[in-house]
């Protein structure tokens, strides 16, 4: 079973690689550009600039920095509550006893 999964994943990756290298003229735009924006513009309602535009200079990096500090601190501080050690959870023990 595991071997079958590995082979399938490798085959999918190989297929993707071949398709990507063969599709060298693709622009890899998102469907928000290729579909949503295209139809909206054709209907006379093109998207407008966001009300809060963080994509100016280094503002976006600053946002990532703040989120990283907050998320990293919280993730580290509460790590054991989010990911208890294997077998430590009483609930896990109960379930294993039941099984």
């Amino acid at each position: 079973m595991r071997a079958a999964i590995v082979v399938t994943v490798l085959a999918a990756l190989a297929l993707a690689f071949v398709s990507v290298s063969g599709n060298c003229h693709a622009r890899w735009e998102g469907v928000d550009e290729t579909v949503v924006k295209k139809f909206a513009t054709a209907a006379g309602r093109p998207p407008r600039a966001p009300y809060i535009n963080t994509d100016q200079g280094d503002i976006l990096l600053f946002v990532f920095l703040l989120a990283g500090i907050a998320g990293g601190f919280a993730g580290g501080y509460f790590f054991r509550e989010l990911f208890p050690r294997k077998g430590r959870s009483e609930k896990v023990k109960e379930l294993r006893v039941r099984q």
Binding site: L15, A16, S19, V20, N23, H25, A26, R27, W28, E29, G30, V31, D32, E33, T34, V35, V36, K37, K38, F39, A40, A43, R45, P46, P47, R48, A49, P50, Y51, I52, N53, T54, D55, V63, F64, L66, A67, G68, A70, G71, G72, F73, A74, G75, F78, E81, L82, S89, K91, V92, L95
Partner: protein
Amino acid sequence: MTAVRRGAIASISCAAALLLLPGQAHAMHISEGILPAGWAAFWFLVAAPFLVLGMRELRIRSDREPRFKALVGLVGAAVFVLSCMPIPVPTAGSCSHPCGTGLAAILIGPGITVVVASTALLLQAMFLAHGGLTTLGANLVSMGVVGAYLGSGVFLVARKVRIPWLLAAFLAGLVSDWGTYATTSFELSAALARDGSMGSMFLVILAAFAPTQVPLGIFEGFLAAGAYRLIRTRRPELMDLPQEEGAA
């Protein structure tokens, strides 16, 4: 764990996911300014009751089992990341993203998935220029409401007819993804079509999404099945948390 700490985990987990996104996202979210004011308001009204019900359910289940909020925080972070993670689709030469709401719905229930989807969409609209504040209601209906309830419904029906849970999770992810994009097509065609051409415009937009979204929906199905299997085998205690009817 105190209520403050639980709240901190739930909210900051979502913020942490911002780290993984150093660039513009490419997605199905309807951008700022595309929907006329009337349609934008209409979709806010459609989403509002689902959001209220989800928040009520979250409060009830968290009171019953304090650990539940930590799980919701983690699932929220996953939805945030998945719903703005651009994935190149070689067959179409473009990028799109999974939604994660099908998986979330079978883990924490569709009602609470609407709440986590609203948080994810709000953060994306505010800080990543992904979606928009005026189109938040429409995006929440397509990704949060339809994605979650469709995914959860498919999972429940599949289990009722004794389809193995791995395949049921796959179907939930697949149908939830396709349902989300079908709803986005409907929202766009309803707002933008002129002179009664809504039906044909809906089909045209749906067909435009298809080359990217058909393979990506299948990918999301595998993603949902894999994640569900991982949690079911490694953290079975999470599956044992108190559930409202309709959740896994």
